[in-house]
């Protein structure tokens, strides 16, 4: 059986996870805009409406605030909604229910309720969709206690983390980079989970730790492969969860390599790179550092339409190569 490794795309892996979740638990249902017969803007729900019916794969009107709130209400009262925002940018319209309600309800009511809610956010740039359809807003939600925020970087994790999210009693926000949807990779059959809150070492190395998120994990691996040819040995950590952060994984790696580069697509300042840098600076790993910490993040601009400008807005493999090489060689 194992001789043939089954490959699925990232989008197919998510779809399979949602189907398994619905098979396992009657309470699970999907809600979102155009997730039924259209199959979702990115074809992630695909034909699930044909298999599970429109009572469990619910097309909402274009009403993000209301839709998010309905999902919160259903979650609090015994259902297990998986709510899709058509683009992560539209989280801005649902923010009230996510931040003021879903995140705090259990706390405010002294533990009397939980909010077992999953929300999915297709995110990121690279599709030419310009400033209002290309943002990376995960750190916004990562700032809110009460939420869990994950960014699976592979088809394997997309499935396993979604199933972990559905099983989780608290609200889990999943940011899926749109350019990953077509990425193929090994995805085991059946039910399995990948834990929320655990980072993964994607590549072991001695000279430098790159902490990357989402699509930047693959870019960091590509950069590491190039630099291997120059004798530079890079460790790549896939953070996977940005709240709660796997501090220990980062600390342990930096203690080993003595250098840290953070790579993420979201706007550089006040983001995940600042948090990872600070956690190292506050820990015993600080004493092991041989060089200043470097962050590579998105430019301090909205995402432009022009494709060359768009590419220049977020870190690309050559940028990672240059930054990593300079860091290891002590160039400042």
């Amino acid at each position: 059986m194992d001789a043939v490794v089954r490959e699925l795309s990232y989008a197919q892996a998510i779809q399979e996870a949602m189907a398994i979740a619905m098979d396992m638990d009657e309470r699970v249902f999907l809600m979102g805009e155009d997730i039924g017969v259209y199959g979702g803007a990115f074809q992630v729900t695909g034909d699930l409406v044909e298999r599970y019916g429109s009572d469990r794969v619910i097309d909402t009107p274009i009403s993000e605030l209301g839709g998010a709130g309905v999902a919160v209400g259903a979650a609090v009262t015994g259902m297990r909604p998986i709510f899709e925002f058509q683009f992560s940018d539209f989280a801005t319209l649902g923010m009230e229910q996510i931040v003021n309600q879903a995140a705090k309800m259990r706390f405010m009511l002294g533990g009397e309720v939980s909010v077992p809610l999953v929300m999915r956010f297709p995110a990121g740039s690279g599709t030419g969709a310009a400033a209002q359809h290309s943002q990376s807003l995960e750190a916004w939600l990562g700032h809110v206690p009460g939420l869990k925020v994950i960014q699976p970087a592979t088809p394997h994790d997309a499935k396993g983390m979604l199933l972990a999210a559905v099983a989780d009693p608290d609200p889990v926000m999943i940011f899926e980079h749109k350019l990953l949807y077509k990425m193929k990779g090994h995805v085991p059959e059946g039910h399995y989970t990948v834990p929320i809150g655990k980072a993964e070492i994607r590549r072991e190395g001695r000279d430098l730790t790159i902490v990357a998120t989402s699509i930047m994990v693959q870019k960091a691996l590509d950069a590491a492969a190039v630099l291997e040819g120059e004798g530079i040995d890079i460790e790549v950590i896939d953070l996977r969860t940005i709240r709660p952060l796997d501090r220990q994984a980062v600390i342990d790696s930096v203690k080993k390599t003595s250098r840290l580069l953070c790579v993420y697509e979201a706007v550089k300042t006040l983001g995940i790179g600042a948090e990872v840098s600070a956690l190292v600076a506050e820990s015993e790993a600080f004493d092991y550092l041989d060089a200043p910490i470097v962050r590579l993040g998105g430019a301090e601009t909205p995402i432009p339409y022009n494709p060359d400008l768009e590419k220049a807005t977020v870190p690309q493999v050559p940028d990672i190569i240059t930054a990593a090489r300079d860091l290891v060689k002590g160039v400042r």
Partner: protein, 342 residues
């Protein structure tokens, strides 16, 4: 209105509104612009297919009479807010297709200097405050522009275009209420093409006609056949008069249909081929208007051909202009994020 002679006026007395209200030259210009919208979008679609334009686009083919009719009574400095399906609004409000193509090609000569693309097309000089990537995003902005017009006593009116899908966003309801309580010079134009992406209004909206929403905000709610130019222009004319007179907002529901899919990635699974073909064959707004113009003696076949030829040339020239224009400098990435200080 260009002063038509009394004899001409009398002979037109039984014709629909626009044929009484506007001169033959003005009406021929409307046909010209409708063709310009149609051919612009066909041209953009073709450039997209050939990989010359990236991203996505939402075509308004089939909705040209709505854009033109609403903009007909507007003055050059009146303002509009538009939608993701905004090419027609932009041209109807006076934009040049060359600079629109340039924007789609990501060039510095484009209306947004290559930063916005199709979904953010604008022409601020002509009063178009911009298409919008956010459904219903432009509706409250139009109310704000109308507040400015009232406070600054500019006499401007503002039109907010949006789709049927937008009427279920909170922003729509909040905006209509404020426009009503403050009696602002704004006209809400719902271009109801039957679907928000794949979701029909029957599945998304509790009322049968979106114009019925007007009652909740104490403003007139008017339904027009959005594929008949004269009907749309007449409703817009009345709403503009009311707004300019300080009597407050109007909601116009313009019932129409988009021939193309929602965007470039639509497989049209939520509607039938027969439905699409029926609208294309029997209710094409350009064909309907052209027939009326011809029947009423405002244009002959030669005149129609001349318009088509002129439009074809404008489109070809526009694409050439876009191709030949410079791309933005990567070093200019951070331009326009904030206002430059001298």
């Amino acid at each position: 209105m260009a002063g038509a002679s009394k004899a001409v006026m009398d002979s037109r007395a039984n014709l629909p509104f626009v044929y009484r209200q506007y001169s033959p030259e003005q009406l021929r210009e409307v046909l010209h612009k409708m063709y310009l919208i149609r051919r612009f979008e066909e041209g953009a679609e073709e450039c997209y297919m050939r990989g010359l334009i990236h991203g996505t686009m939402h075509l308004s083919i089939g909705q040209e009479a709505s854009a033109m009719g609403i903009c007909m009574p507007l003055a050059e400095d009146d303002q509009i807010t538009s939608t993701h399906r905004g090419h027609g609004h932009c041209i109807a409000k006076g934009a040049e297709v060359s600079r629109m193509f340039a924007e789609f090609f990501g060039k510095t000569t484009g209306y947004c200097k290559g930063r916005g693309g199709s979904m953010h097309i604008a022409d601020v000089a002509k009063g178009n405050l911009g298409a919008n990537g956010i459904v219903a995003g432009g509706i409250p902005i139009a109310v704000g522009a109308a507040l400015s017009a009232k406070r600054m006593k500019t006499g401007k009116v503002v039109v907010s275009f949006f789709g049927d899908g937008a009427n279920n966003e909170g922003a729509f309801h909040e905006a209509l209420n404020m426009a009503a309580i403050w009696k602002l010079p704004v006209i809400f134009v719902c271009e109801n093409n039957g679907y928000g992406m794949s979701t029909s209004t029957a599945r998304s909206t509790a009322v049968k006609n979106i114009a019925e929403r007007a009652a909740a905000y104490s403003m007139p709610g008017v339904i027009v056949n959005g594929n008949i130019f004269s009907e749309v222009a007449e409703a817009s004319f009345k709403a503009v008069e009311r707004a300019r007179a300080g009597e407050g907002p109007t909601l116009i529901e313009s019932k129409t249909y988009r021939h193309r899919g929602h965007s470039k990635s639509d497989r049209n699974r939520y509607r039938t081929k027969e439905e699409i073909e029926d609208w294309m064959a029997n209710r094409d707004p350009i064909a309907l208007f052209e027939t009326e113009l011809r029947d009423f003696g405002f244009i002959d076949d030669q005149g129609i051909q001349a318009i088509r030829d002129a439009v074809a040339k404008e489109i070809a020239d526009g694409i050439e202009f876009a191709k030949a224009s410079p791309a933005p400098d990567i070093a200019a990435l951070a331009d326009y994020v904030y206002t430059e200080h001298a």
